[in-house]
Symmetry: C2
Subunit: 446 residues, 2 copies
């Protein structure tokens, strides 16, 4: 009996991102039941297996789906609302008032759809989000077909949808109860905002709640120098050591930013097996600082890459973020050999899957792994010639080079068009909703 695969992708150059970083030129990639079933050099035509659907990827690179390991999807609503400002003014005069006035279930839904459109079109197959009204985020993400870890926000201040902070853990619990085990591609999580906006009790309860559900705990930590200094002053230890003292650090806690670390912090993160998310463009734009990523990698800490929300970056393009990550650490360490292209591709794929708890199920293109993949068109002038595909992915490619995107064996983007939902329909509502949001000051000098 002949095997008929769901999909076969022919003639592409496959970056497997397996342990050996094997690259297969002129490859045959067969997918069935949402998994990679065959991956090899193209056979003779007579030996080509049958498939329901065939995709020609000649002139293209095929890589594991990109993992955007930290974002706030609905913040697309506030993209470019305010820039070039000190962090406190940006937050207090622009972002917090905008959230107060405009964050509601319907705006969160549309903002999430807009974010997912941007993510899919730029090759992101999985994301890790933390925000409020996370039920609405989840409903929207499910519509788009993305794989995601989604965390209901926990903060000891009145927040969108949770006006009474004493109910923040209850809201997170309700979210976990609703979504745990419900949709295969969606994993609920707890997003504890930070050690400076959540008290000890909240931090401990959030971790306990996450533990009960075997859910990931996401937390911003050591993002700014001020945060570190305040923590040292209030608790006598660094933010990381403070979280450790409270028992929050283990492989199911994901540390976001992790900029202001000392040697002891790095050792502790490595010992406890936490994952870290590096958000270089957000850290640069807000002038927060430079995370010691090469030092963390050398200690074996899994470091993924995130774009952060689009109010602070201002896009969700992980390929551009990869380029920035590579160049930022080279200049910071005065070492052009730091953060080599191969390491950066790993961070954006396999390491992303690892910090979200998905290794070894996905993150690389190998037999038996989930078929989350991206096809990059390498024929435009800026991508030629191509002596080393890995180098081009990091230093040249951006989201616009993405042609096709598959999640769990299903194409969500083909030829640069989203298949899983109608951006045209969403776009109309998007225009209406964002039309109500106005910057505090006159935009530019219009």
């Amino acid at each position: 009996m002949e095997t008929v695969y769901d999909t076969r992708i022919v003639h592409g150059t496959v970056l497997t991102v397996n342990d050996a970083f094997d690259i297969v030129e002129d490859a045959l990639l067969c997918i069935d039941g949402g998994r990679v079933q065959r991956l090899e050099r193209m056979p003779e035509p007579a030996d080509l297996p049958a498939a329901t659907e065939t995709l020609d990827a000649e002139g293209c690179l095929i890589l594991p789906g990109l993992v955007n390991a930290h974002t706030h999807l609905p913040m697309t609503l506030f993209r470019g609302l305010a820039d070039d400002l000190p962090l406190q003014r940006w937050l207090e005069e622009h972002i917090f008032p905008a959230e107060k006035n405009h964050i509601a279930p319907d705006t969160v839904r549309i903002g999430t759809l807009a974010a997912c459109a941007e993510l899919l079109l730029s090759g992101v197959t999985s994301c890790c989000d933390g925000y409020f009204f996370e039920n609405e985020v989840a409903e929207a993400v499910v519509e788009t077909g993305l794989r995601a870890v989604l965390g209901q926000g926990v903060i000891d201040f009145p927040a969108p949808g949770v006006p009474d902070p004493s109910r923040n853990i209850d809201a997170a619990r309700a979210f976990l109860d609703k979504w745990t085990g419900r949709i295969p591609l969606l994993e609920p999580s707890v997003f504890c905002h930070s050690p400076y906006t959540c008290g000890e009790t909240t931090l401990r309860r959030a971790k306990a709640l996450a533990g009960e559900h075997d859910a990931l705990l996401q937390i911003h930590v050591a993002e700014t120098r001020m945060e570190r200094e305040q923590c040292l002053s209030a608790h006598g230890v660094s933010p990381v050591m403070y979280l450790d003292r409270l028992g929050l650090l283990d492989p199911r806690t994901l540390l976001v930013h992790a900029v202001w670390l000392d040697e002891e912090d790095i050792r502790c993160i490595a010992d406890k097996g936490c994952g870290v998310v590096h958000c270089p463009e957000s850290n640069m734009k807000l002038a927060s600082g430079i995370a010691p990523v090469p030092a963390m990698l050398s200690r074996g800490i899994p470091v993924a890459i995130g774009t952060d929300g689009s109010a602070s970056n201002n896009d969700l393009d992980l390929l551009r973020e990869m380029d920035t990550a590579a160049k930022l650490h080279k200049i910071h360490l005065a070492d052009p050999t730091a953060m080599q292209a191969e390491a950066v591709v790993r961070m954006a794929t396999a390491e992303g899957a690892r910090v979200l708890g998905w290794a070894p199920r996905l993150g690389s293109l190998e037999i038996g792994k989930a078929a989350d993949l991206v096809i990059v068109d390498a024929r435009r002038p800026s991508m030629t010639p191509m002596y080393r595909p890995t180098s081009h992915l990091v230093y040249v490619a951006d989201g616009s080079t993405v042609r096709d995107v598959m999640v769990d064996g299903r194409f969500l983007v083909r030829n640069g068009r989203i298949l899983s939902f109608s951006w045209e329909d969403v776009g109309r509502e998007w225009k209406r909703v964002t039309g109500r949001i106005a910057p505090v000051s006159k935009p530019d000098r219009m």
Copy 2:
């Protein structure tokens, strides 16, 4: 008698980049004889002037053409040939041997065409190039319709096309003699490689030669710490002060990189009226250092932006370079208000024109100025919503958002396709030529 303009562009949002940084929404922009003739809010339909060609720019941003103020066009041949290496190994083991083996009139021609395709598609209307076989560069650039300053390389070593360094000034003179006043959009120049690769006599003769032709002298200066230290040791002064001592500094000398400067250097550059080109991505990737751009801008030094050659960046996308420039200085100075979006847009347009000696003829969209302009499509998800167009240009847009490009009143790109030459035809030769160039080591692990 009715006025009939060559072109009218309707309904776009125009960033004039005039002194007041005026932005005109829902604009009418009329072009005739290669110049901007009208620029105003859209009139009533009855008052709309006639034009031979009408372009609808609804949902688009219109800005002055981008100026890539420093590049080495033919180095597209070596894009991604070697990365993540120490500067000396990169140069001596990869780039110099590749230049020795592969730089010839035919490869320079095709490499230049490939570079121009990339430049045009990403919104660059003018560039400043320095390389060897510059006659071939010039012939190719003329084919593409780009506006350019092109400099024949001068270096006191055997160079492609100039095996005998004692003839380097003669070669530069022949280039100036051939191209001065010949093609309106092309200005010949002298590209002196650097103060450490050219002796005093060569430096003085190069400047004298440029002066005789009223041509721009381009020179790499103070790019690395080692260059500065060697200059201090050999000449007792910094590279900038050394050039000043030789009489090289005036408004017709363009200082490229200008990374390792002290206060005295900055004061001298300001006093002498030199322009500077900032190449942030090249400086980051090669870990050269961070140029003190905000300090130079505050002294009134005109600073433009360049991508450098695509062997060291690895693309020619000036919009991405703008994003990097803004973020790099914010993080370097720990100040999110540094390098505001408006300043960065000026650097990439009006200041670029200024350092090349073209102000006030072009660089902004104002009545009477040359019609070099770019139309950016702002309708893709990542560009929405748009509260502040300037912010989006810097922090979101990349070359792929460019829809149309006009140089001197003539469309060279429409709907993302090059009109002035056939990339398809060039692409075939490009593939053949670059197929002969192989990296020294096996690419990745293919």
